[in-house]
């Protein structure tokens, strides 16, 4: 473990340049560049607001803001987008970089770090755009918004931990990618992002509260829309869970690392 950290430290410039290159290629290759990272979730938000806002929006409790549903939606999407991007990119991280892994000698643990860095950067762009929209609709900052960096860090940790496990498994069993794609669709709908948990029939709500993404997304919504404290206890539990998952992921990764190149 310590050796790994030292290796990562030695390769810190490699990691940083890779993140920068990732961003730069996206700017260079396409006309709109990294704006796509923002446009995609924002249009998603706009469409949901248009189609579902009428049906679900009126049932948001305790607000008198006309645009409450938009804020609720974008707040939840902010957390979900980061998580989903991490999972989908970590899932194929080793498979996609097969040629790099075969040809170059470098600590493989750099790859997940590069992906996390570039996902985080994308999410910060989205955050800036979202906060700008919040200003436009009259949802002004409160001190509670200072919790955002903490929430982002927890989302990043959880997504990375789960993504690493899935990424390693996917090298050996490619079916993992197929299952994950379906599970992510299910997971999105089982997280109260486009709807409030109060609209669900009674016996589903307690089950849904066990969903870690529920705690994360609703903390974003609590902080951004209602100006309340996030669910600190649950978030603490998620941090512990993420650390356990990360340990499992690292152990798996250490075990699998020597065999990986042969399978790819």
């Amino acid at each position: 473990m310590k050796l790994m950290l030292i290796a990562v430290w030695h390769y810190r410039h490699f990691i940083l340049t890779s993140i920068r290159n990732d961003l730069r290629t996206r700017f260079a290759r396409s006309k709109l560049g990294a704006t796509w990272a923002i446009l995609q979730p924002l249009t998603q938000g706009a469409i949901y607001a248009l189609v579902l806002g009428q049906i679900l929006g009126s049932r948001l409790p305790d607000t008198n803001n006309k645009y409450a549903y938009v804020v609720y939606l974008l707040g939840g999407l902010l957390g979900w987008t980061l998580f989903a991007e991490l999972i989908t990119r970590c899932l194929t991280i080793f498979v996609d970089n097969a040629s790099l892994l075969k040809k170059m000698v470098f600590p493989r643990i750099c790859l997940p770090l590069i992906v996390s860095g570039s996902c985080l950067l994308n999410n910060l762009f989205l955050l800036a755009a979202t906060l700008f929209i919040f200003m436009l609709v009259g949802n002004y900052p409160t001190w509670m918004w200072l919790w955002l960096p903490v929430l982002i860090a927890i989302t990043l940790l959880f997504g990375l931990a789960l993504g690493l496990i899935l990424g390693v498994l996917n090298v050996f069993v490619r079916d993992v990618a197929q299952v994950t794609n379906v599970v992510m669709q299910l997971w999105f709908w089982l997280t109260p992002i486009v709807y409030a948990i109060s609209i669900l029939p009674g016996h589903f709500a307690p089950v849904l509260r066990l969903n870690p993404m529920y705690a994360i997304c609703s903390s974003y919504q609590q902080v951004l829309l209602w100006g309340h404290l996030p669910h600190l206890k649950t978030l603490g539990a998620i941090v512990v869970l993420s650390l356990v998952l990360l340990t499992v992921g690292m152990l798996l990764f250490r075990r699998a690392s020597p065999d990986m190149v042969d399978v790819l």
Binding site: S30, G33, T43, V51, Q178, V182, F204
Partner: protein, 275 residues
């Protein structure tokens, strides 16, 4: 200057691209279907499992949790999911093909640069592989119909007609996007967003009657609306499709395919310089 191998003034030229190279198209489509799940243990079974899992997810989420109903009278929790699935398959078919189209030429650089290859047939093989998945999804839908709706409606026999009306539109989109995709590299992201928008702005998740009368006509500017409604009619409700709508759609779609094919053939000589 290379001229096209087709008489572009001829409105059936897009289909000649299929008939002339039929064996090649089938071969390429088959390779594409087999290649998608290569390396996984379940292999080809995924083309069947995937739509089944998606159907299960939508049944559970919309039927059981949200208790969405297509019309107020029914108490059947699975009906909504079946109706949704019938429309969703149409959207999946389109978005899969459109998404592939944006990188179709770039991914096949060898065919552009090194050999004499009928590039225009790539469109038909993309459609072929999409059609295979559409067929599998439709079979999954029909397999569960007896439980949900009590029977398989006889109007299923018209489903190929509905798909046939849709094909020129999809083919045209693929030619147009494949050509534009060579020059505009961020087309893929744009297509992803547009196809998501098309799905939500078509009567796939909700019946058209939910939209106020005054605005309902706007739905028909969405190229998925007519086809999605027709496939819900024939696959779920056991109604005849609106043949007047389908006929009008087929005419417009054919004109579009003709234009898109001519556009592709005109622009293809520039591909080799860009890729």
């Amino acid at each position: 200057m290379t001229t096209s191998a087709y008489r572009l003034t001829d409105p059936i030229s897009p289909y000649l691209a299929l008939t002339r190279h039929f064996a090649l198209v089938v071969q390429m489509a088959r390779r594409d279907v087999a290649g998608r799940y290569r390396g996984s243990f379940a292999g080809l079974a995924w083309s069947f499992l995937n739509p089944l899992l998606v159907l299960v997810v939508y049944t559970f989420v919309f039927g059981v949790i949200f208790k969405s109903r297509w019309n107020a009278q029914t108490t059947n929790p699975f009906q909504y999911a079946v109706v949704l699935f019938a429309g969703l398959n149409i959207n999946t078919f389109f978005s899969e093909c459109a998404n592939r189209a944006t990188t179709l030429v770039i991914e096949n650089t060898n065919f552009v640069k090194r050999v004499v290859f009928p590039l225009e047939t790539l469109t038909w093989s993309t459609l072929g592989s999409g059609l295979f998945h559409l067929c599998v999804s439709t079979l999954v839908l029909l397999a569960i119909s007896p439980w949900v709706m009590g029977h398989i409606p006889w109007t299923v026999v018209f489903f190929p007609v509905v798909v046939a009306c849709f094909l020129p539109f999809v083919a045209g989109s693929v030619w147009l996007l494949a050509s534009l995709g060579v020059y505009l590299r961020d087309l893929k992201q744009a297509v992803g967003i547009v196809s998501m928008a098309l799905m939500f702005l078509a009567p796939i998740l909700y019946p058209a009657t939910l939209i106020p009368d005054r605005w309902r006509f706007a739905l028909y500017f969405n190229p998925l609306t007519v086809i999605a409604e027709a496939s819900q009619d024939v696959l779920v409700w056991g109604r005849l499709p609106r043949f007047d709508h389908l006929a009008a759609y087929a005419v417009i779609a054919s004109l579009f395919a003709w234009f898109a094919f001519a556009w592709f053939e005109r622009t293809r000589k520039g591909f080799a310089d860009v890729v």
